[in-house]
Amino acid sequence: MIVRWLVALVAIALAVSGAVATLGQAGSGAQPWDEELSDNFVFVKVIPFALALGLALGIALGGPRRADASRRFAPATIAGHWLLALGFLLALPTGVWQYMGGILDVSLPLPLYLIYRVHYIGATLILFTLAWFLGYWWAGTDRSLLVPRGQWRRHLTGLAHELPPRLGRMIASRLGLDLRGERPTAGKFSFYETAFSFPTWTFVLTLITITGLAKAARYVYPVPGPLLYWASTLHVAAMVLILIKVLDHLRYTLARWSLVVAMTTGRASASLAPAPRVAPASAAGGDDE
């Protein structure tokens, strides 16, 4: 534990040193770059420090914790969630503007570099938080958001039960799931969260991270044109998917207010307990989603 925190302290010191050196170079006036190009270089130089700091802090905060049935989320999870939300709040609107501004062929009455600057701040927060969560989960023992090996069919069946009946039946039919049997019982998280929400979040966040890093890499490495083209295209696609995911996430959690309370206070409520093991095939589905 002490070693983890020592590593985290070293990472904090390195990150602060890196940020001071990078911003010092950018603000020295020695470079002939304009504001936008200067910000590009600042961003690409800050990325390794943000990733390393997030990873080190995540590992330090992770590890075995005292079991507490009254808690649904640990303070570190709550902090990471809201940091990620803040990152999206900064990066999504500015990313949308960069894309739609070109489509609409209009400009805002403020310099474009400011849009990019806010986008980069949001992206840095997102990268930091993703590394934080990776380290945190790697060091911890809670895997309740993951579908265990060999359990996908059970989780997908549970998901089909949680969806509105018509949609659930359609998905079950496509995936060859049998909804006539006993309805699976969800664990700490609903099947919607384990079989759909978390995997799709993982996919879109991985896509936006890899494509964003490829785009940023061009300022330190000659990235081939076709690769850059596809990275840019898929970065926009990932942005659109994240917009959809955020809307769906808000819709899902607002319908279950105790989830909002849990992600604010950490406290679980009785309404978040797993659904009772009931519901024969004829009555299955339609209660949650």
Binding site: I244, L247, W257, L272, D288
Partner: protein, 74 residues
């Protein structure tokens, strides 16, 4: 607190709805076709329609939250 959260989410849904409309409309603009091509037009249309659908679902959930109908669901 619920009303405040619903208001914030409603603002987010409205902004996304505006974006959805812009995406769908610009999927059919000649300039987009000339500059971006058919795949980009299809992406704008599909993306705009999906964002619009989810924005409408979120707006509906905000309404339910404020009118307390969601309270029984936790």
């Amino acid at each position: 607190m619920k009303a405040f959260a619903a208001l914030l989410a409603l603002v987010w849904a409205a902004l996304n709805a505006v974006l959805a409309i812009l995406m769908v409309v610009n999927a059919f603009v000649a300039k987009t076709a000339q500059h971006e091509g058919l795949p980009a037009q299809a992406a704008l249309l599909l993306g705009g329609l999906t964002i619009g659908l989810f924005a409408a679902l979120l707006a509906w959930e905000c309404y339910r939250l404020v009118t307390k109908r969601a309270a029984v669901r936790g």
